[in-house]
Amino acid sequence: MSGARRVAVLKGGRSLERSVSLRSGAQVQDGLARLGHDVLAIDVGPQLVEQLLEHAPDVAFVALHGRHGEDGTVQGLLDAIGLPYTGSGPAACMRSTDKLLAKHLMLEAGIPTPPFCALSEQAIRELGASAALPALERDLGFPLVVKPASGGSALGVKFARTSDELPGAMVGAFSYDPTVLAERYVNGRDLAVSVLDASAGAGEERSAEASALPIVEAVPRREDFYDYESRYEIGMTTFVCPAELSAEATTRAQDLALQVYRLLGCHGVARVDLMLEHDSEELWVLETNVVPGMTETSLLPQAADAAGIGFDELLERILDSAFTR
């Protein structure tokens, strides 16, 4: 780390996760200022590139969630103007944000992910994909979790307990993305494994080495598995960190998270969400977030804290990732 920098904190934007992003961004700004950096906060909009060119910061801290910020769009732009930035590059962002692609990659690599089927609006319209629904139902069984193929917001994530509920759940999910996934519901414990790079070496030789942080378990306050929205609301979920797991399960989950992180080509930091199935004790990887939340109740800061990495140190490590690509 080479002293104070001019850091542009990119936050907000017009995604459905705007308000979370604004909160993440505010925490990041405060922390970077405490660390002595010169902070420029940018609520991302049509003037983004202009603002970046005008203020010419040394580095961009990406605190954007959802569309543009997490799908590689902003990262591609930053590459184009030659501005270093935190976290994963465009390819890893695309692979992670596109849940369908991520799941196929995981299947190929032998990483367990719940059985699923994808349906696009186009395939329904042009290829008569609806006729595949009975086969899909037969293969996957109920209940099913139906979700938009991209996006990390709880909006659009639905349960379908029966065949009757499936069309409505799918149409709901289609409101957020032209492709939706129907995934076998895993009844189990919600685990999140954050992966953080540490830089090794010095100068031009610096490289990043990823390690998994302690696992966070999200315990719903109400035993209401069918309401995703309330599960994502602050106060509706209690977080336990480190999660109370056997040493074996902990290692397995952390290893899986690292495998996924490398498979998708993530850089700097990411959070991998898994389920530990009650009956089988199997671990299933659900998805990967390349820009994990940095709010006061977010999982990554909790996990870092449990590893003895304070918030400011966490920020410094993530900032460092801009220079170890």
């Binding site: 609806s130 629904l133 917001s153 799918m170 409101s175 929205e229 960190c241 109740t297 804290d305």
Partner: protein, 487 residues
């Protein structure tokens, strides 16, 4: 905080806040748990954009107020009484403003004693003060379903348990209210008050029939319950004969010349004049009024004397100086809103499919539309906002559980120009058709009828002579809405 709520086995280390930055969480009062920001509300925040036609607001159209009149009245206030306007005022409100309130209520045949009035900072403050005065955590409020979305966070903040009674075309069915009250009684729970918007309900658009008004007052009396009568739109009636307020019905029943002893009446200048004034009022039985007054002292000492004096000056100008009196202004609003309502009804007929139904309000600001039950209007809003550039309030906002009303939406016609109403409804219609088409191809069969939510069959108790007053879509036996407008 509740350490150990996860509770599965000893020794489990529960950390609700892991980082020092989370210290606020530990300081928050238990009640803030109820003050949640839902994903739906966050999405609605995104609809405030120039290129989005928003039918989501609860807005009157303030562009109709003559700027010269506003300037003249403010100059009068400044010229006559700058010092008083800039000073604190009495908590109960200024006498000249209370006189205006008495006049507005008399226009709805509701005669009151000025000493029973508390001037508040908008009608919203009345809801807050009533909860502050009456509600302990866990106390029950009985409200309509759907109910005013703006009351939901207030009820939640006071940790009230809310029982919602599904509306039909004649407002809150009192038999359903009574069975709810019986059930609560059997459970040893006594509601503190019944919250109702009898006229052109927000968001339902329906009006409580005279028979039900009478019965509601009787039931409240029999069971010694308070009623919070929220009446922001009563004077904005576009057709049909006005119905008496609950306050007036109760006062007549008591026969004490104006004093109702079970109705807390909520009024506001927001819809008949301007919401920017932030002026409303409560009329309440004396013992309740005293507590509301104490609550207001703690909240904001008094409502703004500047705007109170503006209202007094406006009412006193009384159409003099070749200017519009308050009644004439209300008349211009009524003409404008009636036309906009008709524009919206026409657009709904044209663009919403057969699987949709909607209310046909005789007044107020809102229409409540209900779609195919498999369509979730929160998701539809996400689609409509993104692909069509149009916004509305998803029905869930009007339900305390945040889940019911999922297939309905509230549409505001009053604050939106005609062309935007037509275009907005056309766009929503297009999004609905896209979803219905998708549903059709996913289920590969005919669509089931819309749900029975919203404007259902009114109960048999409705007065026969009132049939013509209630110009709302009724349901035939198959459950689909019949449109009154023939096309």
């Amino acid at each position: 905080m509740e350490p150990g709520t996860s509770g599965s086995g000893g020794g489990r280390r529960t950390r609700q806040t892991a980082h020092e930055l989370a210290r606020y969480e530990a300081l928050f009062a238990e009640r803030t748990r109820g003050m949640k920001s839902s994903a739906m509300r966050e999405m609605m925040a995104l609809t405030a954009r120039a290129d989005v036609i928003s039918l989501a607001g609860g807005l009157p159209d303030t562009s109709t107020f003559p700027p010269a009149l506003y300037a003249g009245l403010m100059a009068d206030v400044a010229g006559d009484s700058t010092a008083r306007a800039l000073q604190y005022g009495p908590t109960e409100g200024m006498a000249a403003t209370i006189d205006c309130i008495v006049e507005v209520m008399a226009a709805e045949d509701t005669l009151i004693d000025p000493a029973e009035v508390l001037v508040t900072t908008g009608g919203q403050q009345v809801i807050d003060l009533v909860c502050k005065t009456l509600i302990d955590p866990g106390d029950v409020i009985v409200a309509e379903a759907p109910t005013y979305p703006g009351a939901v966070p207030t009820f939640s903040a006071y940790q009230a348990e809310v029982e919602q009674i599904e509306l039909d075309a004649d407002g809150m069915p009192i038999d359903a209210l009574e069975s709810t009250l019986d059930r609560l009684q059997a459970q040893g729970r006594r509601p503190k008050f019944i919250y109702t918007i009898p006229n052109f309900q927000n968001p339902g658009g329906v009006t409580m029939s005279l028979a039900r008004r009478r019965r509601l007052v009787e039931v409240a009396r029999e069971r010694e319950l308070l009623v919070l009568e929220d009446n922001p739109y009563g004077l904005l009636r576009y057709e049909g004969e006005p119905l008496p307020t609950l306050h007036a019905l109760d006062a007549a029943a008591v026969g004490r010349g104006g004093a109702s002893d079970l109705v807390i009446y909520l009024g506001t200048f927001s819809k008949i004049l301007a919401p920017g004034l932030r002026l409303g009022w409560a009329v309440a039985p004396r013992p309740v009024l005293e507590k509301l007054n104490l609550g207001k002292q703690g909240a904001d000492l008094c409502s703004s004397p500047v705007t109170q004096m503006f209202v007094a000056a406006y009412f006193n100008a009384g159409g003099g100086r070749a200017q519009m009196g308050w009644r004439e202004y209300v008349d211009t609003l009524k003409d404008l809103y009636r036309r906009r309502r008709d524009v919206m009804l026409e657009a709904l007929d044209e663009h919403f499919g057969e699987s949709a139904s909607w209310t046909r309000p005789d007044g107020g600001l809102f229409i409540w539309a209900t779609l195919d039950r498999r369509i979730d209007t929160t998701d539809l809003l996400a689609l409509a906002r993104k692909s069509e550039g149009v916004a509305f309030v998803p029905g869930r906002a009007a339900y305390v559980d945040g889940r019911s009303g999922g297939s309905s939406m509230r549409l505001n016609f009053a604050g939106v120009p005609d062309d935007d109403i037509r275009e907005g409804i056309r766009r929503i219609g297009r999004a609905v058709r896209a979803q219905v088409g998708l549903l059709g191809s996913l289920s590969g069969g005919p669509l089931p009828p819309a749900s029975a939510q919203g404007a259902g069959e009114p109960a048999e108790e409705a007065d026969a002579p009132l049939a013509d007053v209630l110009a709302l879509p009724r349901r035939d036996r198959s459950g689909t809405a019949r449109r009154r407008r023939d096309r």
